[in-house]
Symmetry: C2
């Protein structure tokens, strides 16, 4: 008998019919003799509706109260699923974040889980009850309600799975797994059967928005196998596991793209100590996240500096840097929002040389110019012109042997 944690996202509980579908799936797992803990998101659209209500109420909603408000979304679905299961003749009970003893820090809106007391869940499981936990929410040590940030139900699920030492954490969503590339632009993309935590961490942050990135970190830390699968089919999805667990190691597991980037370039920056700090401190103070930073050496004690920011922050970042450019005597500063980041990811590249040159050659053959490059142990990312995005993803997918046979 295994302990199975099943998490269902907003589209999987979007209405009563879909919640009934969830109930049937949960029941099946329960009847197979497993102990089942279900984690639910709010119905699709509800969180946005509540945010709209808060913004209608006041310009800058207080974060503590916003969490109290948002927590009602998951409370609603948890109660409905629990009563539906009971109506189907099976023992079940809902638990809110504080009842499931999900203790977090006090960072309202983006709280981190400190610990999970599993006594109550274990007692309910012992009575063969299905435990339905409201995802996304916890409480701080003073008993205030907190929420874990967008996609936080994934983290709730993995954290509870870790605390229970569950056999698997199943993440049910509206896609049937992780793909080698976005099937919308790369028709030959294949579903990945097994992927490592580290690859998934790179996938998630680069745009394959299936799992909240923090949940993957949690799963890795506690070595909880995560099964990403569709709530609308019985098919197996993608297993996210430890890379040492005997998975076949491809050189590259997937190709991702990210259109949400813009670059800011400062030309002819004096090459002096302290200049980089002057450039990036006001950006950080404005709360803008910088992704890639490239500095090219020029002759004559000057350098060109380019960095990327989220597209939405492009105008603000440019304004800031225009002021900075004046004070540090840079020649020019400009922004370019028409860029894309394409990346190849794979734990296998740690042991293979030539991955970068294979990538650059593939892009070169299509006359795609590379504007910036950044690398990590298991990832190579290139900034290219936005218009080449789809082409770049497809040629890289082919070049690294990821195309589906058919």
């Amino acid at each position: 008998m295994a302990i199975v944690v099943q998490k269902f996202g907003g589209t999987s509980v979007a209405d009563i019919t879909r919640i009934r579908n969830v109930a049937n799936r949960v029941l099946k797992t329960h009847h197979q003799g497993n102990d089942v803990v279900v984690i639910l998101s709010a119905m699709a659209g509800v969180t946005d509706r509540l945010l709209g209500l808060a913004n209608e109420a006041t310009d800058a909603p207080d974060r503590r109260e916003l969490d109290v408000l948002l927590a009602t979304g998951e409370q609603t679905t948890a109660a409905i699923l629990a009563m539906m299961l009971k109506g189907m003749g099976v023992q079940a009970q809902s638990l809110l974040g504080h009842q499931a003893e999900v203790v977090t820090d006090c960072e309202y809106g983006n709280a981190r889980i400190l610990e999970i007391g599993t006594d109550r869940i274990k007692r309910l499981l012992k009575d063969r009850k299905i435990v339905v936990v409201a995802g996304f929410q916890g409480m701080d040590i003073k008993g205030n309600i907190t929420t874990l940030g967008r996609g936080g139900s994934d983290t709730s699920a993995v954290a509870i799975a870790a605390a229970l030492n569950a056999d698997v954490c199943e993440i049910y969503t509206d896609v049937d797994g992780i793909y080698t590339a976005d099937p919308n632009i790369c028709p030959k993309a294949r579903k990945i059967k097994v992927i490592s935590y580290d690859e998934m961490l790179n996938m998630a942050s680069l745009g394959a928005k299936v799992l909240q990135i923090r949940s993957v970190g949690f799963a890795k830390k506690y070595n909880i196998p995560v099964h990403v699968r569709s709530s609308f089919s019985e098919e197996e999805g993608t297993m996210v596991v430890n890379e040492d667990s005997g998975m076949e190691q491809l050189v590259v597991s997937g190709v991702t793209h990210d259109l949400n980037q813009a670059r800011i370039t400062l030309k002819k920056v004096p090459d002096q100590p302290g200049v980089a700090a002057k450039i990036f401190s006001p950006i950080a103070e404005a709360g803008i996240l910088v992704d890639m930073i490239i500095q090219n050496t020029r002759s004559g004690g000057q350098t060109d500096l380019t960095f990327t920011v989220p597209k939405a922050d492009c105008t603000k970042a440019l304004e800031i840097e225009k002021k900075v450019a004046a004070t540090i005597d840079a020649e020019d500063v400009f922004a370019d929002p028409n860029i894309a980041k394409v990346s190849v990811i794979g734990v296998g590249m740690k042991n293979h040389s030539g991955v970068a040159s294979l990538m650059f050659n593939a892009l070169a053959r299509e006359n795609i110019n590379i504007i910036m490059i950044s690398t990590s142990e298991i990832r190579i990312s290139c900034i290219i012109e936005e218009k080449y995005t789809e082409l770049a993803v497809r040629v890289l997918h082919t070049a690294f042997g990821l195309d589906r046979d058919d």
Copy 2:
């Protein structure tokens, strides 16, 4: 500096504009130097919407889970008002039932308050914070969420006022007070300035649906002055107080009517011990509430027995009694849903004779036949034909000198 508890009902928080109106009213009381605790209902219509969702999910929603679901309604309004107040620059904090330590028994859907721990509220008030409590909800000693039944926010408010030994509990609603009769059918009805708890208890149960009856019992027990008033005007409403508090004692304070009654009559019932039990046990087992019971003596060891039940239960009660009539050998059984109960209420009648005859004469003058009569210390009720309801209320209102002068 006084402690003021202010409760706002569903129509008073029906949308953001109305909640802003509530915020302004609360702020005003706060700025006058009072400690303010606000109790909120769910937005008008929300509880019914949630009940609909539950009934869509399952035929007989589990009561524990239904309470978890329903509690989201008040959680939403409490969070919104608190963030709005903070947005207006005043310190405020929302508390859910369990955070306000509203401890109840385990009777889901209709829980009773056992005690209220006021430490947290008092600490917040000491910091000059406005405390916004989600009404209608509490928790049992095991930490399960419970709700207090329809209108339960009134009870939350009065109970919290009692626990804090508040100076007044203001109940803001969509009417501007308690009237001597329903102004819709009695144009000369006047707003009552002061009414006793006992009169209010009789008013509430007889149809003046302004206050949850349990909240009045609470207010009486702890002697908390309750001020029923409109959230849409600044006018004074009706004070509900102890009858010894020097209020002017009218013989009759109000005339109420109740159309939600039906009567069941068993004719020629054998006048033997045990027969009444046979008649009423199956009614009680079916969960039907019996209001009035009248037994008339007949000659020949037989009696006629009439009782009233809620109109909605009339058919069911008739079916039950048809079976009973067969076993006890009663001659006939019939139901009449076309009746109304009109009552006159007043603590003054304890010290005045002739109230009953004045009532019966007033009805007789209009040829209104009295079908049943029941009395209590401060109330006389008559069952009449439904079609005479409005006329009966008006003539009684005039007969007892309640008409407005104009």
